[in-house]
Amino acid sequence: MHESGDVKIPIGPQHPALKEPESFLISLRGEKITASSVRLGYNHRGIEKACEERTYTQGLYLIERICGICSHSHSTCFVQAVEEIAGLEVPARAKYIRTLIAELERMHSHLLWLGVAGHEIGFDTLLMYTWRDREVVMDLLAALTGNRVNYGINTIGGVRRDINSKQKEEILGAMDILEDRTKYYIDLAKGETTLIKRLQGVGILSHEDAEKLDAVGPTARASGIERDVRKDDPYAAYAELDFKVISVNSCDVYGRTLVRLGELMESFNLVRQVMRKIPEGPILVKPPRKIPAGEVVSRYEAPRGEDLHYVRSNGTEKPDRVKVRAPTLANIQSVSKMLEDRYLADMPIVIAAIDPCFSCTDRLVALRDAESEKKNTVAWETVRLKGVEWYKNRGVDFTSLNKKLTKLFQHA
């Protein structure tokens, strides 16, 4: 797919557009992207194997650290699986608390995404404001769970911390603040010309492609696939709550933005419902140390899409196999499609638009990227010629100027 003539740019592993070490290889013709490929694995720590040699309790914290942004997603998904195998009936209150944290996490993740998206298109002001407002959620999470990220609220059989009435009020108060901030951002997203210019029609992923490539989460929902595990296969307390699945049909980055903003609004009302409906009672049932043998597939709607854990136990206190399918792994396959004949300038936002979370993705084993080693070894002569040719076609001729200058500097 990468033709020899084209300019190849390695994006990553250390690149401002990616907050994580991953490597995309982009072939350019002028400003146009002709081909792109992704190499994963930099973030690979071998978690799946490691889980096999840790007890469920230890494993839980490890799983939580698959990803710092959707930590609650992974840990919940895992404990749900373990509880199902062990046949534990989790108290209703615990389920509601999990739901609460899940929605708060979704808020912080989507606000974060909005900021990052802003940064990717050079709109740092948006980054600054969204992250300022995100701090409200972070404070809540810190107060409720005891940590800003990697909350450690889940434990097998329930949750570790209860919420009191004072916290309830704080939460509701915060929801109001966040809601009108979000309304403002929706207004902004719908109204700011430069923003729309950069997002609309970029990173097209048609409905068919989305289905063919099994896209999940906002990426899929922006291509008109109404799929949300919270509705389709309710877990925690979602069965008892009512909410809409946001989906639009624009199939582009702009659509994904709107979907996420819409989901934010949904999350606010979900949290309000939780606060209203949350029953009294215990928050934890004592789990056995040894989990009986069995196998379970557990699903969870992470902010980025469906998270899927397969857990098989063998009656000991350590799992036999833990398989994690993070949402990004499902979505990453559609990135190349989205990048097809876009401009280089669109690359960061298109990649960002699936809200990639590579630390989730590379659970397995690492790879050393052969291709991005080319960074310094790209035959710059070809690069130059291509560039010159491209601009010549557009009526700009460097070659003569270039010759003159080289002469000049040889004399000098």
């Binding site: 940064h119 740092d124 948006l126 210019k197 401009y343």
Partner: protein, 313 residues
């Protein structure tokens, strides 16, 4: 002779420019931060950055063409500093002026861009390459409307010397209003020249790391940043001289004060715009310049032509 040296080295030459440059950067960054509801850097920040960079180890990438790589930043710095000498910043009279210095100044202001282009081109890293080519492409987009606007106002003043223009406009204060379109357009173009959002395409961080300057570091980077600051000052002074002819006939101190106010007003405007928009794509930017700014500039020219015919002297 001595006087010339004084002008070149002290005022309004290098020393003044450096100080003013630091001030400009500070104001820009501080305002930017405040627009974003942050505190922002302390007043000495630009100075500290500069000294640190100058004192830092210098690495020259082995692929780079050393001569050009080293020469270009200095070149840019020099070019942008020289320009100030032709711009009236204290009263109506520039240090040096002759009929036609407008064009000289404009071209002096173009040189840095070329310098960055060559610097990036010869550091021979992919990112620098693309950045360099982008900055040149961008140059072709904003240069025309900018020149047209200045031209328009020159035509109205019927002189090719900046000092002359300043004199003319300060005498017919009413005329500045005719150039309002020109002022706005050229302000936007200035953003392009200074490679600031929404036109920071050549150094778009998330796309091509730091564009032409990816490989630069230490002293050379310091020079580049400095020449950007000086460009800011010169550009702002130019616009002030051409479009904001206020308080030129006050007592000298007041004149200088007015000048400062005008320049800082323009700098503030720049950092405001910079906080306001998302970065445009190269093609979008070119569209903007050719489809909207250039025609507007033309309009300005025609308007001024008719004005010259209609209005009595």
């Amino acid at each position: 002779m001595l006087k010339a040296f004084f002008h070149i080295l002290i005022f309004p030459g290098l020393l003044f420019l450096f100080v003013f440059g630091f001030l400009a950067e500070y104001v820009d960054r501080k305002l930017y931060a405040r627009f974003q509801n942050r505190i922002g850097p302390p007043w000495f920040q630009p100075l500290a950055d500069f000294i640190k960079l100058v004192a830092k180890e210098e690495i020259i990438p082995e692929e780079a063409d050393v001569k050009v790589f080293k020469l270009m930043p200095v070149f840019a710095l020099a070019a942008s500093s020289v320009a100030i000498l032709y711009i009236p910043i204290w009263g109506e009279q520039a240090v040096f002026s002759f009929n036609g210095d407008v064009i000289v100044v404009l071209y002096l202001l173009t040189i840095p861009t070329f310098a960055y282009f060559l610097g990036g081109w010869y550091s021979r890293s992919v990112y620098s390459m693309i950045g360099a080519v982008r900055s040149l492409t961008q140059l072709f987009a904003y240069e025309v409307p900018l020149f047209l606007c200045i031209l328009a106002s020159a035509m109205l003043a019927d002189t090719w010397s900046l000092s002359g223009m300043a004199r003319f406009y300060s005498q017919h204060i009413g005329y500045w209003f005719c150039n309002i379109i020109g002022f706005v357009v050229s302000l936007i173009c200035l953003l392009g020249k200074l490679e600031k959002v929404p036109f920071d395409i050549p150094e778009a961080e998330t796309e091509i790391v730091a564009g032409s300057f990816t490989e630069y570091n230490g002293r050379l980077l310091a020079f580049i940043r400095m020449s950007f600051n000086i460009e800011t000052v010169v550009g702002a002074s130019l616009l002030a001289a051409v479009f904001l002819p206020f308080g030129l006939n006050l007592p000298p101190a007041a004149v200088f004060l007015c000048y400062l106010i005008q320049v800082f007003f323009i700098i503030a405007a720049i950092s405001f715009l910079r906080a306001l928009f998302a970065r445009l794509r190269l093609d979008q930017m070119i569209n903007l310049c050719w489809k909207y700014l250039a025609p507007l500039a033309f309009l300005q020219v025609l308007f001024n032509l008719t004005l010259k015919v209609v209005l009595p002297r």
